[in-house]
Each structure stands twice: as C-alpha cells, then as structure tokens.
Symmetry: C2
Subunit: 202 residues, 2 copies
Amino acid sequence: MSLSNNTIERICRIYGYLEYLEKNNIEYASSKEFAGIVGTTDYSVRKDISSLGLTGFSRRGYAVKLLKDQLGEKLKLSRTIKTCIVGLGKLGTAILDYESFRDDGFNMVAGFDSSINKIERIHTPIEVFPVGQLEDIVKQRSIELGIIAVPPVAAQDIADKLIKGGVKGILNFSPVRIAVPEEIVLHNMDFTAALRFVAARF
Amino acid sequence: MSLSNNTIERICRIYGYLEYLEKNNIEYASSKEFAGIVGTTDYSVRKDISSLGLTGFSRRGYAVKLLKDQLGEKLKLSRTIKTCIVGLGKLGTAILDYESFRDDGFNMVAGFDSSINKIERIHTPIEVFPVGQLEDIVKQRSIELGIIAVPPVAAQDIADKLIKGGVKGILNFSPVRIAVPEEIVLHNMDFTAALRFVAARF
DNA sequence: TTAGTTTAGTGAAAATATTCACTAAATAAT
DNA sequence: ATTATTTAGTGAATATTTTCACTAAACTAA
Ligand SMILES: NC(=O)c1ccc[n+]([C@@H]2O[C@H](COP(=O)([O-])OP(=O)(O)OC[C@H]3O[C@@H](n4cnc5c(N)ncnc54)[C@H](O)[C@@H]3O)[C@@H](O)[C@H]2O)c1
Ligand SMILES: NC(=O)c1ccc[n+]([C@@H]2O[C@H](COP(=O)([O-])OP(=O)(O)OC[C@H]3O[C@@H](n4cnc5c(N)ncnc54)[C@H](O)[C@@H]3O)[C@@H](O)[C@H]2O)c1
C-alpha cells in the first residue's frame, strides 16, 4: 500500500482545505468539491482516500473533522513538526515571520545565517543563531525539517550540515540541485522553473 | 504532439540547468546527466527531448547551447516575458527584488499594493503602483504573467483584475484556490502543502 | 411506499507514462 | 582495421494512473 507522489500531493492539498472547512464549521464535503480544489476528478479523490483505507458517507460525502484527523494520522501530519530555516535574507525572513506555518503544524524553532550582522539586527520572536551552531542546535532541538534559503553556492553545504544534524527532510528554495542520501526527503521550490512552467503553457 | 505536464516540468528544469552549463562553457551534456538533475531516468529525458522533435549526438550527448535555444523556441521561453507582482509584503518584496528572474527571461515591470504607505516607502528600481491602477498598467504594458502575493482573502479579486488586464498566466503564492477561466494558466506555490509533502514522506 | 437523487466505493477498461531492449552512430583503444 | 565503449533514438512491453460504469447506501419528495 505505497502511495504515489501524486496521491500524496493531492492529499496534502485536501488536508489544507479540510482545515479551512473545519475553521468554518462545515461538517461535510464531497469528493467533487475536493476535486475542484486540487484540480482533478471526483473519481481520483475517492481513489486517493480509499487507498488509505478511509471512507465517507453515502449522500453526504466525507466528514470534515474525521477525515482531517484520519489523513493527519495516516500521513503523520497531525503532530507538530519542528522546523528551522537557514539563510535569513529577503526570502528567509519572509518565511521566518510567516505565522501560518505554526497553525499548519510546523513549528519554526530556529533560524540561521552566516552574517553576524544580520543575526543581530533581526527582530523576531524566533531564536536565530550563527550558522556555525547549525548542527548542534538541530540535534539538541530534534529539528526534523530544514528549509534552505541561502545563495546557491552555499546550498549543498547547508544541506550536508542539516543532514548531519539529523533532519529527515529538506525544503530547498535555492535554484540548484542538491545531493542527499536515499533516506532524506528533498523537495525543491524552484520559482523560476514554476514561472517557466506557467509561461510554457500560455 | 501535446506535451504532458510532467514532460513540461522536466524540460523547464533541464532548461535551467542548460543555462548553468552554458554559463560555465560546457558544450555537451548527456541524457543521464539531465536525468540526475531532474530526478528521472535517461530514457525519459530522451523521450521528452525527442517528443519535441529535437535530437542529440551519438556518443557526445546534447549540444548545450543548441538544445537550450531549441527548447526555448519550442516552449516559448527564449523571449522575455513581462511580469508583475501584486502584494508587496514580506514575500512580495523578496520576489520583487529577486534579480535572477531577469536573467531567466522574466522582466518584472511593475509591483502593486493596496497600501499607499507601503508603496511610498518601498525602495526598488521597479515601478510600484496602487492596486487601483492594476488593470490599466497590465494592459498598457502588455504584462503576460502576474504573481499573486496578497493575503488569501484578496487573492481571487486580484486574479480577476489581472485577467481583465489581459495576463495569460498566474503564479499564486497565497494558500487558496483561485478560479480562473479555461484559457488562463494557473500555478499555485503552496508552501504549506510543500512542507506537508516533505513531512508525509519522512 | 415508491421513485428519484446524490454521493461513495470499486473492479474493469482505457489512457498515459515509464522502462526495456535493441539499433545505430561516433569515437577511442588496441 | 578491428573491437570496445558510450550515448542517442525508438518501437514494444510493462507499469501506473486515470477514467468509466456500475452498485449500494442514504436521504428527499411525491
Ligand atoms: N528572493 C526571492 O524571491 C527568491 C526567489 C527564488 C529563489 N530564491 C533563492 O532563495 C535563496 C535566498 O534568496 P534571497 O533573495 O533571500 O537572498 P539574500 O541574499 O537576500 O539572502 C541570503 C542569505 O543567506 C545568508 N547566507 C549566505 N551564505 C550562507 C551560509 N553559508 N550559511 C548561512 N547563511 C548564509 C546571507 O547572509 C543572506 O542573509 C537564494 O538561493 C535564491 O536564489 C530567492
Ligand atoms: N511570508 C511567507 O513566507 C509566506 C509563505 C507562504 C505563503 N505566503 C502567502 O503569500 C501571501 C503574502 O504573504 P506575506 O507574508 O508577504 O504577507 P504580508 O502581509 O507581508 O503582505 C501582504 C501584502 O499585500 C498587500 N495587500 C493586501 N490586500 C491587497 C489587495 N487587495 N491588493 C493589493 N495588495 C494588497 C498588503 O498591503 C501587504 O503589503 C499571503 O497570501 C501568504 O499567505 C507567504
């Protein structure tokens, strides 16, 4: 019962929508509605959900709160995941300060930068450290997920350090390919590739 | 000869890598090398490239400059694409100031925000306008691609205005589903979904 | 009660995507 | 000159994903 990346991606989007529905006290939603949200068909949504062994209700659809909890359970999203960000430049500070991540279950517990100047000037409730302490802090605080927002040249080095510290996954915003061992989950957010992906389909 | 989204996505990533190779005066690269970059197999890369009617050279691979130009031609990426950003908050200003986009063929020609205060305070070589002028400026300057970095509640309204102004595609950073007509290309950059996509595969 | 409607569940069919197995070309090595 | 090696090109086989067609359940309305 291994899930395809497409299924995981769709479920993650649905999960976000379920949170929204829950906040708005909506109790049921149909596969068709989810399909609209993630841009697929109701068949696919039902297949995705049932492939996790979860079920809905005839004529009412899926129970929002129940499904959210069950999906969270299955995909290990309901627990809070300790996260850090490396590179506190323009993009990094935007991410550092983005408060919704906490609601979404990602607890930003540290920021790192190589510039002491920057670290001293930064004004945020989150603790920030010089990059030299990266590995230690990641270990100490059991940080599971690292976000990379350093210039491309530094990205591989930072990834290596995050991995030594023990992170299980990396979200990389720098536009370079990073090499990681098998067991580490890597996902790239390549803005330029995304812009091209749009422009290529005009 | 319509390309799948997977193919387009891979080609966009390869295109970025070709730019890097070109800058470093590397003349040839193999399908295997591209496969490593985009995380697929050499077979798939060759299929992708040949599905566009493009070819390489036995025993040398693909000619970097030639392939880049040809892919650029086929996917309409070689021309410069006029782009604007709406919402000049933390994320929006980071994107506004990100200079690599220009090298990558995206010319940021305008920024918009609803806060006059913000517009007056912003310090950037790119022209910024109150959001009331959005539709007109997009028309006047023939902006083809709009980036949305406003709070979720405003996202649909901004999308509607961008479309009225005539953009062909939208890159949406707000974590909500936006409705657009068939002919408009929409792509969502949902950071939370990306974090979840990583965490779900730990 | 009965007929109609909505929506989930699901095996089968169809469509799509990937991988394989093989050919051919170019070059290097012996 | 011959053999070996590397790498692209590609039709066929395989695998995966999506869609379809149908069933069943739950509820509504007549
Ligand atoms: N700003 C954007 O909109 C944008 C868009 C797409 C991609 N990116 C990518 O995101 C990354 C960050 O972009 P940015 O605009 O914030 O750049 P930036 O220059 O504003 O910030 C980079 C930060 O990284 C720090 N840094 C440099 N080397 C480091 C190291 N070895 N360890 C720790 N910190 C280090 C710098 O001190 C700086 O604070 C870059 O890779 C960039 O290509 C940015
Ligand atoms: N900061 C992040 O790291 C981050 C991460 C993920 C998603 N996002 C999303 O990106 C968007 C922007 O985030 P941010 O952190 O930059 O927020 P922000 O509050 O810093 O900036 C939002 C900006 O939009 C402007 N704005 C509000 N309504 C507008 C309207 N109708 N027209 C034009 N401008 C308007 C505001 O004046 C402000 O400058 C949000 O949707 C947010 O959810 C941000």
